[in-house]
């Protein structure tokens, strides 16, 4: 991924916005109603047709990727999968809001966002497959490694943006998190640093109502998560997280603000995790299936399909094409996941330091010796209980 050219305005607007501009609306921004009919908004316009069609394609691929991964977990080909099924509009919008030289800082749940940004699915799944801790070159795609310790990556995102500002680059950074992660101290410190240094960061919280089993009411007593923004002096906005056009409009505005020197924004998307936290989780312990059912009607794909079909922008033929493309992607992924790369034990020692220190080399030699002996006398000691 090439560096962004130096075209940030020399004198960014450093004036804080008026307090009134920092509070979110009472209701999330919406451009589609639940049936997929378009819903006019005073401030945010419907994105253009080409962008919507591109978004729909990404939704179809994203949904297929989620479902394929869930299947791969069942077959034992992935160690674990935290699915974003139901949150694909957020995932797709996150990727689409960014330009080429921009950066995304995703979490474990954001595989679809990463893939939408161009990382090959098999590379995006290296962590969850258990081969290594991360599988793609971050600089090539402008995507940081998926973060597991909650909210920690938000600080990395802010630091990345700070460096971009110091270097005079026009990079915008999208810092992703869930609703649960907003309770962590690092969330607070990240938003504060971004606002104090007036950095080009968009904080994008996918509020899917749960942190594993813990509902939002246990994370905050605030009117909304977006109401936290004013406490840092940045604008906060709420958006329907299953409404791709609204997500694009709100994120585009925030990215544009960041790029033009207007500082950070906090965007809270209201969405829902349709499946368990991961395959290892049992969500019947903490939520009613009726609750899950109410969200089926708000499915982001259905709503987009309804919009595009009603506008006659999406033909039956195009729909078939997309399904075929998604199937091909899934088939490719299945093949990639069948291929078991030989796990090389020396990898454990190779990257800890740029130069392997003697004490570590000793440890590797111990292991190498063990391995060569166990190969030589294959089975002899293995048989001891």
């Amino acid at each position: 991924m090439p560096r962004n050219p130096t075209h940030r305005p020399a004198h960014p607007r450093e004036h804080p916005l008026a307090p009134g501009d920092l509070l979110p609306r009472d209701e999330p921004v919406r451009l589609l109603d639940e049936t997929g009919a378009s819903h006019a908004d005073e401030r945010y316009g419907m994105p253009p047709k080409a962008r919507l069609l591109e978004g729909y394609r990404a939704l179809v691929l994203g949904r297929r990727l989620n479902d394929q991964c869930t299947a791969l977990v069942r077959q034992g080909r992935l160690a674990v999968y935290p699915s974003s099924h139901g949150q694909e509009a957020c995932q797709v919008a996150a990727a689409m809001a960014l330009g080429e030289g921009d950066w995304m800082f995703p979490t474990y749940r954001d595989v679809v966002a990463i893939a939408s940004r161009g990382v090959p699915p098999a590379e995006a799944l290296v962590l969850l497959r258990g081969d290594w801790h991360s599988g793609y070159d971050p600089a090539r795609y402008g995507v940081a490694p998926q973060a597991t310790p909650l909210a920690t990556q938000l600080l990395h995102a802010v630091g990345y943006a700070h460096a971009a500002k110091l270097r005079g680059e026009s990079t915008v950074v999208l810092a992703m998190s869930g609703d649960g992660a907003t309770s962590e101290g690092d969330f607070h410190e990240a938003l504060n640093f971004a606002a104090v240094f007036h950095l080009p960061v968009v904080f994008f919280v996918q509020n899917n109502g749960y942190a594993i089993s813990v509902p939002l009411a246990r994370q905050t007593a605030a009117p909304s998560l977006a109401h936290k923004a004013i406490g840092y002096g940045m604008p906060g906005q709420r958006v329907d997280g299953n409404d791709l056009p609204a997500l694009l409009a709100v994120l585009d505005e925030a990215v544009e603000r960041a790029r033009s020197g207007g500082g950070p924004t906090l965007v809270e998307a209201h969405t829902y995790r349709m499946q368990a936290h991961t395959n290892a989780d049992d969500d019947t312990r903490y939520r009613e299936s009726e609750e899950v059912q109410t969200w089926v009607a708000r499915d982001p794909l259905t709503r987009m399909r309804a919009l595009l079909t009603s506008k006659r922008w999406l033909t039956q033929a195009r729909e078939h094409e997309l399904v075929a493309e998604a199937e091909a992607m899934a088939a490719g992924l299945r093949v990639a996941m069948t291929d078991e790369p030989e796990a090389d034990p020396e990898e454990l020692f190779r990257h800890v330091y740029a130069t392997r220190p003697p004490a570590l080399q000793e440890q590797w030699e111990l292991l190498a010796d063990e391995l060569s002996r166990s190969e030589a006398s294959a089975g002899s000691r293995e048989e001891t209980p």
Binding site: H133, G185, L348, T384
Partner: protein
């Protein structure tokens, strides 16, 4: 609303004796303590309706109510820091850190307050807090889910650091930790959660005591947590090869029980310390250093360590190369007999 009192009522939970997993033993220890002492409260991430990601708190909310067992916002410093305040106000909080690496955000609270409040106030405010930390690997967990983080705690004066290796000890040590006047970091070996054993809930354990879990006259293996069954298996295998190998289960990592360990090593003259954590500046290093110092004139060979390598914990596909296993212990035992090589 339950009114929590200053003193526990007399009624003890009825004793049982049955085979159960370590997870079930821990769950029962929590339940029995909640039943016996209404100053005990259990909280953390997902410990309520879900019963914890490892189900250690399963059923506690339903049985004891939302005031005694509850979910918190997702913030580990917050969990430990509020536990400090609760203990200052007479409660006995038991908090769960979801995984080893997710306890790190709480480290400042643990090092600067949990460990020091009793000392700071010259005993006026001791903090009877139990911080439960599922730790260690061997379960195919991805990054940050398999750290053996005991050294950070054991190095910190004022903490008592405990790790059980059997369901019986899990029950008895957790009960002892919950009765302890001082804070305890209670490290639960994840890999052993589903291992079964007999538990007699009338058996009590004392913190600060190691136990010889297998006698042996040639070599002493010193281990704790997950490494205890591995050490036992190695001792068994070495026995088959004609060496009498004993095993000491340290159980309380800090403060350390020198008497038991020193006696065992003096009797054999040979020792291997086994632990999963990276070896550098670890609890295993401490044990090796202490044994080296206290048993010097008894030692026939250097104290060996079989530990994790000094690298970040391995991804699932490589963890079997990372973890101490029977072969590696046997190899270490062999080095104690250089003349036989």
């Amino acid at each position: 609303m339950t009114i929590l009192q200053d003193a526990p009522p007399a009624a003890a939970a009825p004793a049982v004796r049955e085979t159960m997993t370590m997870a079930a033993a821990l769950n029962r220890a929590l339940a029995d303590a909640l039943a016996e002492d209404d100053r005990v409260v259990v909280f953390g991430e997902d410990v309520g309706a879900l019963g914890g990601v490892f189900r250690i708190t399963d059923g506690l909310r339903a049985r004891f109510g939302e005031e005694r067992c509850f979910d918190t916002p997702l913030a580990e410093a917050g969990i430990v820091g509020t536990a400090v305040g609760m203990a200052m106000n007479g409660l006995r909080p038991v908090v769960e850190m979801q995984f080893d690496a997710f306890a790190y955000p709480a480290l400042e609270q643990i090092v600067s307050h949990v460990a020091k409040m009793g000392n700071r106030t010259r005993g006026a405010m001791r903090l009877p807090i139990v911080i439960r930390v599922p730790y260690g690997g061997g379960i195919g967990g991805v990054e940050h889910h398999c750290d053996s983080s005991e050294a950070y705690y054991a190095h910190t004066p004022g903490l008592t650091v405990v790790s059980p290796a059997t369901p019986q000890d899990a029950y008895a040590l957790l009960r002892a930790a919950m009765r302890h006047p001082d804070p305890v970091v209670f490290l639960e070996p994840k890999k052993l959660y589903w291992a079964k054993g007999e538990v007699d809930t009338s058996i009590t354990a004392e913190l600060g005591r190691a136990v010889v879990v297998r006698p042996g006259s040639d070599v002493t293996l010193i281990a704790y947590g997950t490494s205890v069954p591995t050490a036992l298996a190695a001792a068994e295998a070495a026995g088959a090869e004609g060496r009498s190998v004993g095993v000491v289960d340290v159980r309380t990592l800090a403060p350390f029980d020198d008497a038991t360990v020193t006696d065992a090593v003096r009797a054999t003259g040979r020792a291997v310390v086994v632990a999963e954590a990276p070896g550098f500046a670890s609890v295993a290093a401490e044990i090796a250093a202490r044994v080296g110092e206290r048993c010097f004139s008894y030692l026939e060979a250097p104290v060996r360590r079989v530990t994790g390598f000094d690298v970040p914990y391995a991804p699932p596909k490589l963890e079997h190369h990372y973890l101490p296993d029977v072969d590696r212990i046997l190899d270490a035992i062999d080095t104690l007999y250089p003349d036989e090589a």
